[in-house]
Amino acid sequence: MKNFERYAFPIFFVVMAILPTLLDPRWQAVAITFLIFAVVALSQDIILGKAGMFNMGQALFFGMGAYITAILNSHYGWPILATIPLAVLLPALFGIVLAAPIVHLRGDYLLVVTIGFNIVFVQVLQNNLGGVTGGPNGIFGLDPLSFFGTQLTSQLAVYYFAFIVLLLTLWVMNNLEKSKAGRALHYLREDHLAAESIGINTRVYKIFAFGLGAGIAGLAGTVFATQYAAVSPEAFEFIVSVLFFSIVLVGGSSIPGVLLGVFVMFVLPEIFREFATWRYFVFGFAMILAMILRPRGIWPATFGKIPKFLIKETRHGA
């Protein structure tokens, strides 16, 4: 497992870095989708996998980031990259405000409440709130990426934008694993009462998980809006949240598990076109099987790393 991580991640990064140059535009688009959805699934993993909160409204934060970018770009003429701070901060703040009154709920109640939020969000978009969301058609005709005045119209630019966002997300998740805050999420997921009794303010860290997960999903939303130069409400329906939820559950709360889940869910259907209509069917069965055979996911979470100097050879037969 250790060796796997040592080699697999660099190989993955190198492959992903050179991949788009080998692909035709259609497959580049698929690869971009993979990157974006991987980021959203990883953000969901922070809330569901690490902190163990049943959030089934991740598409809300994803969509909010996308819409903020779209609105600021199309109505106010902001360059795409300039919308990033708000596309991250507003969903994060919204996540915190939403989470604060509900994180104490038991898993199943939390699930229902987050589904509710997601549905309300899509309704708001469709009803053209404040005349800026564009109603059921959404917003289209966004500007391409521009960087210090240089227009980056090619799909390759979007790919690398998405790739950088994924790398950033992986970096944050790596930092989280090696921090007090990240461990606190594991502790409260494992045993809430024990976590409180050892001095962890579980409420604060649950809200933190929601805020962070929402912010990262918002950033993915910006990339999504850039890729299609458009946003529309149906991309952020509740069913999309269900997909992210199942990816984390089935894949397991680990980076390889989540990436695998995204691959199966969003890339395989493109490779096997005839599989596309079957994907929910297949994924549904995969979920059932995974939950029976591997209840902690296909690639279960490995918890935070402990420093090497603490690991000693086991004295066998001691």
């Binding site: 930092n175 594991h186 000693k312």
Partner: protein, 259 residues
């Protein structure tokens, strides 16, 4: 700083019509090993839950170093130096021994929430320092070889030790042990007794509930005996053993254990 003293005054905790703890008062002095004993269902664990903030007692006061801690949350109470273990071991089962002990460093760590997103030199140093503290606990409790082992794959006796190590990682002033010898064999119980003495030598006050009478009589300096939530006796082990009310509570009723 006020004296490290825990004073319970007329603490009463009710669950519906049941009074689990009834007008209970006792004082744990600095540096004591203090025992709370009583037959099953006497309300001992409820008392501990009232001290550690898991329950809030309806009446009475719980004072620690002169401060009223009744109604505080568990983590606020931990922050004031009171840490507990559980009767039914509550470890973070899928996590390693070292990570479990690291949870005790949470409240001592200087890291903020945002260090989880962007680390700084300071947070890296803090991280390293706390892992070194974990190493100290691993050595103190002789758990070094299990550092990377998930706790749910350890035998029961070791899990108990990990739980105490986790609590000690907080560097508490008052350590509360809820039936630490439950489920241990004789050899492990002897080890536990030694550990408790070593913990006291570090200047930590120990408050414990225990069923193992031999052990309680051996290690505690002072005892409170409760039955049906009420205090029926207090005193040194010798005094308590001679108290007729205690003898009756333990021997006079048919369904109590006397291990």
């Amino acid at each position: 700083m006020a004296h490290n003293e825990l004073i319970l005054n007329n603490v009463t905790k009710r669950f519906g019509g049941l009074t689990a703890v009834d007008d209970l008062s006792f004082t744990v002095a600095d540096g004591q090993i203090y025992g709370v004993i009583g037959p099953n269902g006497a309300g001992k664990t409820t008392v501990f839950n009232c001290i550690t903030g898991i329950y809030k007692s309806e009446e009475g006061s719980v004072q620690w170093r002169g401060e009223e801690i009744r109604g505080m949350t568990p983590y606020q109470i931990v922050d004031r130096g009171i840490v507990r273990t559980f009767q039914t071991i509550r470890l973070f089962g899928q996590m390693s021994v070292a990570e479990n002990i690291m949870s005790g460093r949470h409240i001592k760590s200087s890291q903020s929430w945002w260090h989880g997103i962007v680390p700084t030199l300071g947070s890296r140093r803090d991280e390293k320092e706390n892992w070194l503290k974990v190493q100290e606990q691993l050595e103190f409790f002789d758990l070094g070889e299990f550092a990377a082992t998930p706790t749910n794959s350890l035998p029961y006796g070791l899990q108990r030790r990990v739980e105490i190590a986790r609590a000690m990682a907080v560097e508490p002033t008052l350590l509360i042990l809820d039936e630490p010898a439950a489920g241990l064999n004789d050899k492990e119980t002897l080890g536990l007794v030694e550990t408790i003495y070593k913990i006291r030598e570090k200047g930590v006050t120990v408050l414990l509930i225990e069923h193992d009478m031999d052990m309680v009589m051996e290690i505690t300096d002072y005892l409170t005996v409760i039955n049906f939530g009420k205090k029926i006796a207090e005193g040194t082990p010798v005094e308590v053993q001679a108290n007729p009310a205690v003898i009756e509570a333990y021997l006079g009723s048919e369904d109590d254990d006397d291990e």
